[in-house]
Amino acid sequence: MASAHSIPSIEERFEFTSGAKRNLMIGGAVGLALVLVGAYLAANGGGGHEVAAHGAEAAGHAGAEHAAAGHEAAGHHTAGWIKRIWANLWVNGVYFTGISVIGLFFISYNYLAQAGWSAVFKRVPEAMPAFLPFTGVIMLLTFVFGGHDLFHWTHAGLYEVGGPEYDPIIAGKQGYLNTPFFLGRLVFYFVVWYWLWKVIRNLSLQEDEIGGTEFYEKSIRFGTAFLVVFGVTSSTSAWDFVMSIDTHWFSTMFGWYTLASWHVSGLAVITLTVVMLRDRGYLRAVNKSHLRDLGKFVFAFSIFWTYVWFAQFLLIYYANLPEETIYFIERFSGYEGYYKAPFFITLFLNFFFPFLVLMTRDSKYTPSILKVACWSVIIGHYMDFYTNIMPGTVGSEASFGPLEWGFFLIFICAFTWSVASQLSKANLIPRNHPMLEESLHHDIA
């Protein structure tokens, strides 16, 4: 009986209070302190699992692994802790880029499908891509200054025919994997994603003031354009940002796999933000049915991620080709089995936990359960990118200490700041959205 519900006011403005700002500042400062402590500990041989006691052994082991993988790391002289800092910036950069861009992805497919239900909380995904310039600059700087430590293929010696480091396989990929083209792509992704977001965001803000269906129609067109662009760039960026680290290895599932990972974590962030806004008294027009549909989204796409993950794993496991299985062997038993724990934690946090917790109907609209499940997915997918990126970059020198927690915390606080300041810039509910009326009466009982 949707018509019997009283609809709360749609005129509300999110206030980014000084208290919230202070808390985020404190969070960021704690993150920074953790990073400094972590860097100090790592630079002095403590804190990591590569502690001095078995450092030499680990290095020898890593050398063997790398040779097996065709990763002769000649020219790698950077200290482990600096590499770890670059790798951490890269992990968080890739992860939060994904979460941000998924905001636009969500809006775009909702426009294309002319979906009505999501209109009421549309400002939340709409606020997320504002973080893109931040991660874009971080990733650009990380690549420019730390690219040699992260990407094996950036070493010039690999391409000198007859040289001591010549690697015919990597040399064969030079047409795609070369620094100018990579930098061009990196900049292209961020510019195009951000520009399309800016256009759609401005249309949405104008619609708020002027009204009418003209802005909606235009948004559908720009949203569709974004989906076409993202259909290609989501895959290519996944190859560039993550897959090219393990330069010899390739998987045709990888674009999908990363998109699935980004998508479910983006959905978890949207859901978590909506729930937290409701906790603070905003978005009262979001009802049980909206929450349940968001819960379904997180539930369904955590299964989808598992499906893609498993499809990639099973094909490689079954075919048993050495150049493919090395990827999983590195994570299972390589580096003294260090990555085995993150590997299985990823599966648990991203599949078993949300699957069992969000299975029943009631849990999908219970705020406390949604929060736990969303955090599980958000942390789980951080671990996912950690397991994807770390073995090929820092390898045996990886660790999970204050450095990792610190960087993750800094990025979370910065991202939250960005989303909150975007939310405070406009009415929290798009008051002139043509589908708003349908959304306010959304009922799936």
Partner: protein, 176 residues
């Protein structure tokens, strides 16, 4: 729905909104409604009628677990224990290989189990020959409310009047 016997008052409505608003009004005045038939699902009707929530989800979970266990047992027993086979150089018992079939059987058991449960609990199996038809137009353009006189204390006239007051355009009597 078990046996439907006895005398029924059948209210025929022309509009889904009318019937949705009639249900709480009638229940408030003390009329016990057996069921409402509609050509399409009406949002909120289940709650308005006070029907208990379906437990088919629990059944589905049980069927799924059964299917999962059956699949794993079948494969581990046949491929790994009774006649160990090495396929593709893998261990006879290699769980990753079993996942696709485990998934398929989980889904299959769940689907068949739910359909069977639904048919049995609604008396719609092939063995059931009793199909009450209160009004054929409930499959076309009318919304039909069935009221069992046996479970109502009010008189026929009173209920009939209440039905008309709530917007029914016809009130018929049906005897099974």
């Amino acid at each position: 729905m078990a046996e439907l016997t006895g005398k029924y008052l059948v209210g025929v409505y022309d509009d889904d909104d009318t019937v949705l608003h009639a249900v709480p009004k009638l229940r408030k005045s003390g009329v016990k409604i057996e069921e409402v038939y509609s050509p399409f699902p009406i949002h909120g009707l289940d709650e308005a009628l006070g029907h208990p929530r379906t437990r088919i989800g629990i059944a589905a979970f049980m069927f799924g677990v059964t299917g999962c266990c059956c699949a794993l047992t079948l494969m581990i027993w046949t491929m790994g224990i009774d006649w160990p086979m090495i396929i593709g150089g893998k261990d006879p018992i290699s769980i990753p290989n079993y996942i696709p079939i485990t998934f398929e059987l989980t889904v299959l058991f769940t689907a068949f189990g739910m359909v069977t449960t639904f048919f049995i609990s609604n008396g719609m199996g092939p063995a059931s020959h009793f199909h009450p038809r209160f009004d054929f137009r409930s499959t076309d353009n009318k919304f039909v409310m069935a009221i069992n006189m046996g479970s109502n204390a009010m008189s026929e006239d009173e209920i009939s009047r209440a039905l008309r007051d709530s917007g029914a355009e016809e009130v018929n009597i049906k005897q099974f």
